[in-house]
């Protein structure tokens, strides 16, 4: 059986109807465990005190903000090349979730930065890149909202997503050049144990798993809604024609 069979909306609906509750439950469990563990059962950082605990929200949200855009890019490519409607709708569904993650990352970053760096907001490359990413999300969603014909909207937003991705990478480099930053290096990498002590690292991993699951569950849920909306639209058209 090929993965492409899920591109059939009926099949997609049947499978996700079973998957969404499971994924949602797993997301809730992971988030509960990760956040409670992180907030109440980890020691304070040697220099940041309890403010360090913001990373349990900040890092996963920031990761998902970028991954959501990547997912949109892949889904747009699949739509443009193979014309699977589910793919286009999944890209549409991911945008509001991605923009929420971006906002969470920006907000928690500001709350962390105020006591630690001494400023709510600095025009640091990473912070600025996230702000630009936020603007890209807004433009993408606005274009979806503005076009009536669903296929035209899917095509045009797909093209915008491709071009936007190239410019997002360019902007990242430009912003780096423009102002070298205060933001620490990435907290997580494959050899992250060197930087983040295990006590902080494990709850963080659980919290990240929770955010990933939450993201997948939300995107599937929203895609289902979009498919239903599309069916409703088709039904109305048929009724009017009859």
């Amino acid at each position: 059986m090929s993965l492409w069979e899920y591109a059939n909306p009926a099949r997609f609906m049947a499978t996700t109807a079973r998957a969404v509750p499971v994924l949602g439950g797993a997301a809730a469990l992971c988030l509960l465990v990760g956040l409670v563990w992180g907030f109440f059962f980890t020691p304070e950082d040697y220099r940041q005190g309890s403010t360090v605990k913001i990373i349990y929200l900040h890092v996963p949200a920031a990761l998902m903000a970028i991954n959501a855009w990547l997912m949109m890019l892949v889904a747009s490519l699949v739509w443009l090349i193979r014309r699977h409607h589910v793919s286009a709708l999944a890209a549409k569904a991911a945008a509001p979730v991605g923009v929420t993650m971006t906002l969470i990352a920006l907000f928690t970053g500001a709350v962390w930065g105020q006591p630690m760096w001494g400023t709510w907001w600095a025009w640091d490359p990473r912070l600025t890149s996230f702000l630009i990413l936020f603007l890209f999300y807004l433009g993408y969603m606005a274009l979806w909202a503005a076009i009536d014909d669903p296929d035209t909207a899917a095509d045009l937003t797909g093209v915008l997503c491709l071009v936007g991705s190239v410019f997002a990478v360019l902007s990242r480099y430009a912003v780096n050049f423009w102002n070298q930053g205060l933001h620490q290096g990435a907290s997580l990498s494959l050899d992250a144990e060197e930087n983040v002590a295990d006590v902080f690292y494990y709850p963080l991993l659980v919290a990240i798993a929770g955010f990933v699951l939450l993201f997948v569950a939300l995107v599937l849920l929203r895609t289902r809604t979009e498919i239903r909306l599309r069916r409703l639209h088709a039904l109305r058209l048929r009724e009017r024609a009859a």
Partner: protein, 158 residues
């Protein structure tokens, strides 16, 4: 009609050729720019080597030198910023961020006047090390704990 079609083909090839040339040009220029990455901070060594004009506002980045932090009257502080090579005295009036301490990274915006960097803004630079307080205390007792050398904001041009 055949003439139209071949004309269309010809034009298409021309468009693609022009695009390919522009793309090659773009790659060459961006490649040139990337090779020569520029950094926005000045390290104390650079400031000492070529002192900027007193009118120029710039950023300095480095470690707060151990044993130089003096809190004066009011909220005025004096300290030196170093990159291991040179050391530049800094004065600043205002509230310092939590993470600001001796031996830690900082970034200041201001002017270099009469051998002193008069900062108008001080920001602390945080490294990506997260460790529990107790662990660090224990390490310090054993004399093992040291801040990573990479903590200073990277000096310009690597």
């Amino acid at each position: 009609m055949a003439g139209m079609k071949s004309l269309k083909k010809k034009r298409r090839i021309q468009v693609i050729a022009v695009a390919a040339v522009a793309l090659a040009l773009s790659t060459a220029m961006i490649g040139y720019a990337m090779r020569d990455g520029i950094n926005y901070f000045r390290a104390p060594t650079q400031v000492m080597d070529e002192p900027p004009a007193p009118s120029e506002t710039f950023r300095i980045g480095g470690l707060v030198e151990e044993g130089t932090l003096i809190r004066g009257e009011g909220t005025t502080v004096r300290f030196s910023v170093t990159d291991g090579g040179a050391s530049v005295p800094v004065t600043y009036t205002g509230v310092l961020p939590d993470l600001f301490e001796e031996g830690q990274g900082m970034v200041g915006t201001g002017r270099y006047v009469n051998g002193t960097f008069e900062a108008s803004e001080i920001l602390a630079k945080h490294d990506e090390t997260y460790m529990p307080k107790e662990v660090v205390d224990a390490l310090k007792e054993q004399g093992v704990f040291q801040h990573a050398p990479g903590e200073a904001p990277a000096a310009p041009n690597g």
